[in-house]
């Protein structure tokens, strides 16, 4: 019962596969494309937490700084974007993934498999207990994902965290849809094995 209440709260705060702005997205996008500050800020606050979480789970060296870079690029090119909110979300995460690859090349580092880094959350005030739980959850998910093969991790996070379709993932990763489906299938199987062998991972 407690879990159901928590799930309901999560679905209200974050629903990867659903619209984050809703029916007003078109007007927000139009205003953002004309450079209106309120629209730019609206898009940033709607998508930046998911982008930050994705980059953090992927082991980016400085996820907050990288999120800023991602949105600088998004807002710089927003005039050329056409589509609905779902496509906009896919577009933003495609950019985020590209910046992540650049960041990995730049820092020449790979995600640690055994020792997940300490994650610093920048929550303004709030509940200390909730903050500690969030930190533990984040470390747990990050440790679990780091045990997956890189390609499988990319597909599963873009699919389950960002809510991208197979087609959008294939475009973002520059792979065929068949290859993405195969990676998703193997990733889920490996994830299941990890969870069965180590139930406390989650």
């Amino acid at each position: 019962m407690e879990r159901d209440v928590e799930n309901e709260q999560v679905s209200q705060d974050y629903s990867p596969g659903r619209a984050t702005i809703g029916p007003g997205f078109d007007s927000v996008l139009t205003a953002a494309q004309t450079g209106a500050p309120w629209a730019l800020e609206r898009l940033y606050h709607a998508l930046s937490p998911a982008v930050l979480g994705y980059l953090r789970i992927q082991g980016a060296a400085d996820p907050e700084d990288l999120t800023n870079e991602v949105f600088l690029g998004v807002l710089r090119r927003i005039g050329s974007f056409e589509g609905n909110e779902e496509k906009f979300r896919s577009w933003v995460f495609t950019i985020a993934h590209s910046r992540l690859i650049d960041d990995r090349r730049r820092t020449d580092r790979r995600p640690h498999l055994a020792e997940p880094r300490e994650v610093h959350w920048d929550r303004a005030g709030g509940d200390a207990e909730q903050e500690a739980l969030d930190r533990l959850t984040n470390q747990r998910v990050q440790a679990l994902c780091e045990r997956l093969v890189a390609d499988q991790r990319d597909v599963l996070l873009l699919r389950l965290m960002a809510g991208l379709t197979i087609e959008a993932i294939a475009e973002a990763l520059e792979k065929s849809e068949g290859a993405v489906k195969a990676l998703q299938r193997r990733g889920l199987a490996n994830l299941r094995k990890i969870l069965e062998r180590d139930p406390v991972s989650l």
């Binding site: 500050p37 710089r76 005039g79 998910v141 989650l202």
Partner: protein
């Protein structure tokens, strides 16, 4: 065989379809059998991605606070230029792709040149000519006057200096002057030194320009004092030179008729009326004018040793 290349002793999972995924992402119960185990993982992913917006750095903060103008030249930001894909590898493009890019570049250049107007082509030609002349001047391969002109212009308009062969010869006059005025230590006009210096300079330039003057004595300049006939005999037409001048048709054979011919010529000039028709007679005193050289020799101090008759030796 399994769907996911997993262990064969485990129960295979069916593929996760989009409907089941949407149900998972929306936080509801799994709509597909066999994915209950995935629900907690998806929920944790949602929690990890549901935090507050990250701290905004100055560049993004300025953009969010001020917005941007969509007018040309006012782009909102310059960072993250590679938003459409990751940056290229440090190793760069493969060779075949580089060749293809060069070919495409040349083809595009030719197409653009073909589309230019006549005035644009002429202007481009003049620009290329000026650039080529300047480049040749920089190398120093232009003729001396042109090299001097290019070097003068370039040195006046730019901080660069070009080789100038004309300037190299400018000091020769000062050297000759020093030799002539005694500034070199030898007082008075040193004609021999001046002559030797000029000849040496001339010989050096002649040998440089001729290129084949390995034997200076065989050159044309070595024939100092030779007559025109001598030099003509050195030409390939030497064997065909006539030994005598052919007679002019209608010309008088007697030399004395030349005078009458001169009178005839004079008669055709504007002063024809003033021309005397006859030659005045010679006076006796004037006859001395027609005396021979013996008469003149008689008035010299050696008159006593002058023979009385101009006999042959």
């Amino acid at each position: 065989m399994t769907y996911f290349d997993g262990d064969t002793d485990e129960m295979p999972l069916p593929p996760l379809d989009d409907r089941a995924l949407e149900a998972l992402l929306s936080g509801g119960p799994p709509a597909q059998y066999g994915f209950d185990w995935l629900v907690p993982f998806v929920e944790d992913l949602g929690e990890a991605a549901s935090g507050p917006a990250p701290a905004v750095k100055p560049a993004l903060a300025m953009l969010l606070a001020q917005g941007f103008s969509t007018e040309k030249g006012d782009l909102p930001a310059t960072a993250a230029s590679n938003v459409t894909g990751p940056a290229s590898q440090a190793a760069g493009l493969p060779k075949w792709r580089k060749k293809m890019l060069i070919s495409e570049l040349l083809a595009g250049l030719v197409t653009k040149l073909a589309g230019l107007g006549m005035a644009a082509k002429a202007g481009m030609g003049l620009t290329l000519a000026a650039a080529s002349t300047t480049a040749a001047g920089a190398v120093g391969v232009l003729p001396a006057p042109a090299q001097h002109a290019v070097a003068t212009v370039v040195e006046a308009a730019t901080p660069f200096s070009f080789p100038d062969t004309a300037s190299d010869k400018a000091g020769f006059g000062a050297t000759v002057s020093a030799d002539a005025t005694g500034a070199d230590g030898a007082p008075g006009v040193d004609g021999k030194t001046v002559s030797d210096a000029a000849k040496a300079k001339h010989d050096a330039e002649a040998s440089t320009s001729a290129g084949t003057a390995t034997n200076p004595g065989s050159g044309v300049g070595a024939n100092t004092g030779a007559t025109g006939l001598d030099r003509a005999n050195q030409t390939p037409a030497a064997g065909h030179a006539p030994t005598s001048v052919p007679a002019v048709a209608g010309a008088p054979s007697a030399p004395g008729s030349q005078a009458s011919k001169g009178l005839n010529t004079a008669g055709s000039t504007p002063a024809a009326g003033n021309v005397p028709s006859t030659v005045p007679p010679v006076t006796p005193s004037a006859g001395a004018q027609g005396s021979t050289g013996l008469n003149t020799a008689s008035s010299t101090p050696a008159a006593g040793r002058v023979p009385v008759s101009p006999g042959r030796p």
